[in-house]
């Protein structure tokens, strides 16, 4: 096949940044055209890689013909191949969506390509130091991109993002050094094999805690999520950047969490810790989301909540919950990307970010309204939409546990908060708001909206396609799903109108509560200390 003749994985990693750099001095229109065609090529290549991984097993490429675990290697397996495909498809869709945006100049497009390159490299890299390097590259690109529309507080948001992530990467580097000193390799598989032979598990506590602190911060787990809403909901961040960050970039942290847990799995198993942490993150995320007024911040806090849900599923201890969590990664990328895209359009046309001042989206911009509402149905887990399938899988995996009740609470919170979000779709729009005419914006939103629907109707087939796991999902409209959702929806609406609308003063105080950089660092240090203590007590 193709892969035997061309080093496909290298092409996949290097092409975005090479094409981006070579075309940089072309006129803007031509550059954009080149990148569009090239986006399709990237999707095709990653589809080929995905196919080969599914049919032939994992694809490994070593640099310069050195042997296993000595050379720098790229590795596509059942975990990373679907994520790479998802990244390429979404980056292409976001690029098309944005093709008429005024700020879409050459620098922006080049940085966007750099971000794509760093994410693909992160998913494909088989070596911890390369992961460290591409995370730093991605961090710099993201930092500039979220400040790209120079508005009010752009510098502060960028600075907070950069400093907090720089701090986390210092933890990662020291942890990596520890691991290298103990195992003598940096390759994931090599480390896994060496760790299996270690007699003293306590020697691994410190590297594990250091690396996991950095990764948990990247994945925005409790209590280290405060940077995420700042970055993802920044007023200066273009909506496709918010969509990329929430849809794809946060998943890099979750992916590394799975990878590093696997590397340490022969000796350290902290899945209970991360399951509890995921649950706490999910609950705190939606509690903070309910108190927000800014629609981008509502969505950003829901990213925190949904990532918590994914981590809970991945650490739930059963294959059902694990693959449910994996499928939720893809689903969340679709509906949260879509929600951020439509929210960006709505903010631009209404001239406000406050949900209470936005009304009548359905009437004034029907395509955006329908697509955005499909995203809402997806994230709340409405039957027929993709969120319901992955949440059903996670819930089934956690059957009979306390975690199942936790799952219900999280879902209730999501519904509650999106009842609030949905109020802006109805009613009568103010007169100054113009309808959306850009065909790319409407078209891409509708396509992703249909993606959410298709992911629900063909849920079992999608899980089979992406992960090769055949589960009986009881159809898209199972009786259990319908009753559960009806109960959740009724409770959510009742709680919203009964409680949330009456405690405005309390919510204002929650909004006013800001943390500065020193407090964030303190939370990171506390998390690290807590994780170390937990490991010393359990290992």
């Amino acid at each position: 096949m193709l892969i035997q003749y061309i080093p496909t994985l290298y092409v996949l990693v290097l092409l975005p940044v090479l094409i981006g750099a070579m075309g940089y001095f072309l006129p803007r229109r031509i550059y954009q055209g080149v990148l569009l065609v090239f986006g399709l090529v990237m999707i095709a290549i990653s589809a080929v890689v995905f196919y080969e991984v599914r049919v032939l097993g994992e694809v490994i490429e070593h640099v310069a013909g050195w042997g296993e675990s000595v050379s720098i290697s790229l590795r596509a397996d059942e975990l990373s191949a679907p994520l790479v495909l998802m990244t390429n498809v979404l980056f292409f869709a976001f690029f098309v969506f944005n093709s008429r945006a005024p700020y879409m100049d050459n620098t922006f497009q080049y940085l966007f390509m750099t971000l794509q390159c760093s994410l693909i490299a992160l998913f494909l890299s088989g070596d911890l130091f390369n992961v460290y390097v591409v995370m730093e590259v991605g961090m710099l690109a993201v930092c500039i991109l979220i400040m790209y529309k120079k508005e009010k507080q752009s510098v502060y948001d960028g600075m907070m993002y950069l400093m907090i992530n720089f701090l986390a990467m210092a933890f990662m580097l020291l942890g990596l050094g520890y691991l290298y000193r103990i195992t003598g390799v940096l390759d994931f598989v090599g480390m896994h094999n060496k760790i299996a032979q270690i007699n003293d598990p306590r020697a691994l506590v410190l590297p594990y805690a250091l690396i996991m602190t950095a990764i948990a911060l990247k994945a925005a787990l409790f209590p280290m999520f405060s940077w995420l809403p700042r970055a993802h909901g920044a007023p200066s961040a273009p909506s496709i950047i918010s969509a990329t960050l929430s849809g794809v970039q946060v998943k890099a942290g979750v992916y590394l969490l799975i990878r590093m847990q696997w590397v340490f799995s022969p000796v350290i198993d902290a899945s209970v810790f991360f399951a509890v942490l995921g649950f706490v993150t999910a609950v705190v995320g939606f509690l903070l989301a309910v108190s927000q007024k800014d629609i981008k911040l509502i969505l950003a806090y829901h990213t925190v909540s949904q990532v918590g849900l994914i981590v809970l599923g991945l650490n739930g201890g059963s294959p059902y919950a694990f693959w449910g969590g994996m499928y939720h990664i893809i689903n969340h990328a679709l509906f949260k990307g879509l929600l951020f895209l439509t929210a960006g359009v709505i903010i631009d046309h209404y001239g406000t970010r406050n949900y209470a001042q936005i009304r009548g989206v359905f009437r004034r911009m029907p395509w955006i309204g329908i697509a955005g509402f499909a995203g809402v149905l997806g994230i709340t887990g409405t039957p027929l939409f993709n969120g319901s399938i992955s949440k059903y899988l996670i819930q089934n995996g956690l059957q009979g546990n306390l975690a199942e009740i936790g799952m219900f609470i999280v879902n209730l919170g999501t519904v509650l908060s999106f009842v609030k979000y949905s109020t802006m779709f109805f009613g009568k729009a103010p007169d100054h708001v113009k309808p959306v005419k850009d065909p790319y914006v409407n078209g891409v939103s509708m396509v992703i909206g249909f993606g959410c629907l298709a992911g629900g109707i063909f849920g079992a087939q999608a899980v089979q396609l992406f992960f090769g796991q055949g589960y009986n999902l009881d159809g898209a409209l199972g009786a259990e799903k319908l009753t559960m959702f009806a109960i959740t929806l009724a409770l959510g609406i009742a709680l919203y109108f009964g409680v949330v609308t009456r405690i405005g003063g309390f919510l204002q105080r929650v909004r006013d509560n800001k943390v500065n950089f020193n407090q964030v660092s303190l939370l990171i240090a506390i998390f690290f200390a807590f994780l170390t203590a937990y490991l010393y007590l359990t290992v």
Partner: protein, 114 residues
């Protein structure tokens, strides 16, 4: 005093840096503190598994006495990354100081308008 070796030293340095990040409200001092943490991690990696009496891994030497070349090569990359991220932080700090008229995290957070 045998426990004072490079790994404990760099670990100590790392936590000194972490203390600085938590306790210093001045933006420049926090940037310096993160750099201390970064330098501690680099020191740790360079001295990891270092045998006494080993020679630098440069062509022409005795291969059996050479130090492990992998961490040294990696740390050049890490140093370059650290320098560029620090440069970016400092550049942003200048913009931020002009905008909010302060270099104190606590004052800046209250001057950021929502």
């Amino acid at each position: 005093m045998e426990w004072i070796d490079s790994s404990h030293l760099s670990l100590g340095l790392f936590f000194v840096g972490l203390y600085g990040v938590i306790s210093q409200r001045n933006v420049i001092k926090t940037i310096i503190s993160i750099n201390i943490m970064d330098a501690a991690a680099i020191l740790f990696l360079i001295t990891a598994n270092l045998q006494p009496g080993s020679v630098p891994p440069i062509a022409g030497g005795d291969p059996s006495r050479m130090a492990d070349p992998v961490p040294q090569a990696l740390m050049i990359t890490a140093i370059v990354i650290g320098v560029s991220v620090t440069a970016m932080c400092l550049a942003l700090f200048i913009r931020m100081a002009h905008r909010y008229g302060s270099s104190d995290w606590e004052k800046i957070v209250h001057r950021v308008e929502d």
